[in-house]
């Protein structure tokens, strides 16, 4: 069970890292998705700032969860984020069914649909599993290991950013030529 909890924690951390980086790569599209969920008039700058805040929150939560495995406060934060995903999926399904959620920026074409709600629920369930207490000896990583994890996280974040940029540009080009 300890291993499952650790795998859930690491998996979610990487997912948040990739999702945050991909959203930052195409912030304008993600801002458009954020605007969908705002029922009142909001200045464009504020929507963009909100989108940036969501992307950075995911990125920071992912990196912190990955690099500081023994910090107990991060798990509830990740669970709260996952519950937020469920709420957003539900609202999106109710009011904007079939529209792209840009959950992973240009990396995927995930939409507000029933499968999206199921995915969000699975993420929340995984976050709940990651809350299980594990012996400190299993999560004890020293400064050297932390640096290694941080460097690996930076590489994965950069790869996600680059991939999202490349896919986003290709889709825009396709739209322009069609």
């Amino acid at each position: 069970m300890n291993l499952v909890a650790l795998a859930a924690k690491a998996g979610l951390a990487v997912m948040l890292l990739v999702a945050g980086s991909a959203k930052l790569a195409d912030l304008a599209s993600f801002a458009a998705a954020v605007r969908l969920l705002l029922t009142f008039r909001v200045p464009r700058g504020a929507v963009r700032a909100a989108a940036l805040a969501v992307a950075l929150t995911e990125l920071v939560a992912g990196v912190a969860s990955l690099v500081l495995p023994s910090a107990g406060w991060i798990n509830p934060v990740v669970l709260a984020l996952a519950c937020g995903f469920v709420l957003v999926s539900g609202l999106g399904y109710l009011f904007h069914r079939g529209r792209s959620c840009r959950c992973f920026g240009a990396l995927s074409n995930r939409r507000f649909d029933l499968a999206g709600i199921a995915r969000s629920l699975a993420i929340a369930a995984t976050a709940a599993v990651a809350m299980v207490r594990v012996p400190p000896a299993m999560t004890g990583v020293g400064p050297g290991s932390r640096t290694l994890l941080l460097a690996s996280a930076a590489v994965v974040g950069l790869a996600a950013f680059s991939a999202a940029r490349a896919l986003g540009s290709a889709r825009k080009l396709e739209l322009e030529t069609s």
């Binding site: 300890n2 291993l3 650790l6 795998a7 924690k9 690491a10 998996g11 951390a13 990487v14 997912m15 890292l17 990739v18 990955l66 495995p69 990396l107 000896a137 299993m138 999560t139 004890g140 990583v141 290991s145 290694l148 994890l149 690996s152 996280a153 590489v155 994965v156 790869a159 996600a160 680059s162 991939a163 490349a166 896919l167 290709a170 396709e174 030529t177 069609s178």
Partner: protein
């Protein structure tokens, strides 16, 4: 030295994510390199006579047994065939390979066009150069009902200048190449079909069939436009 369990688990998760991202980028790069190649490097020259070639028929799911090497359309497997362009019959030859993602997109588009009857009037032919067993790994190739053959000689690939796949070639009823270039989408297929059905230059004008401008491939549409301009110039010269 003992590695902490969490470190091992986290590194595996990161490695997995990195692998997925690299595959995504690799696919995108491959698609970009094949689809954006200029017509000058790929495909036979528009207006030139298309070359005939030999090929061996391959199997698909519609054939009893459905194994590569068997025949299609109920015919015997692995039979040698000859493709002769012209003879009053327009042709659409697609050079595709099952391991190429952009080729899968083209075969999917061709299958859909065939199902909707959009290939009527033209003779479609899918040509692969990879081993027939590779067909099983690709769903569009397994599902296709279109005639499928394996190229038998490198000379064929050289004659058609198949430096990358996918390559779609529209040949008119007189055996003249009317359009050639990369294609992946339904709109591209429609435009190539239209190009293959254009009347022969000696036949007079060039009526634009409805939907002829629906193509999405700018390279290919440029080729068609160039051909039309060239024919228009010939018409003007003949007219005085």
């Amino acid at each position: 030295m003992r590695i902490p369990v969490y470190l091992a688990v986290a590194q595996w998760a990161l490695l997995l994510a990195l692998g997925v991202l690299v595959i995504l980028m690799f696919r995108q790069l491959g698609r970009h390199l094949t689809v954006t190649r200029s017509p000058a490097e790929l495909g036979p020259a528009v207006g030139s006579p298309a070359a005939g070639f030999e090929y061996v028929t391959l199997a698909g799911p519609g054939v009893p047994g459905g194994v590569p090497g068997g025949g299609r359309d109920g015919g015997p497997g692995g039979t040698a065939q000859s493709f002769q362009p012209g003879g009053g019959q327009a042709s659409l030859v697609a050079f595709v390979d099952p391991t190429c993602p952009a080729c899968e997109e083209l075969v999917t588009a061709l299958n859909a066009a065939d199902t909707d009857g959009e290939l009527t009037g033209t003779r479609p032919l899918l040509m692969v150069s990879e081993p027939p067993s590779y067909l099983q790994i690709s769903e569009p190739f397994r599902a296709t009902r279109l005639p499928l053959g394996q190229v038998q000689a490198d000379a064929t690939l050289e004659a058609y200048r198949v430096s990358a796949t996918p390559l779609l070639v529209a040949i008119d009823g007189a055996g003249i190449v009317r359009a050639a270039g990369p294609a992946t989408r339904r709109g591209d297929v429609r435009a190539f079909v239209t190009a293959s059905l254009l009347p022969a230059p000696d036949g007079g004008g060039l009526p634009v069939v409805s939907g002829a401008r629906d193509g999405h491939n700018p390279d290919m549409m440029t080729a068609i436009a160039g051909e039309e301009r060239s024919l228009a110039r010939k018409g003007e010269a003949a007219g005085g």
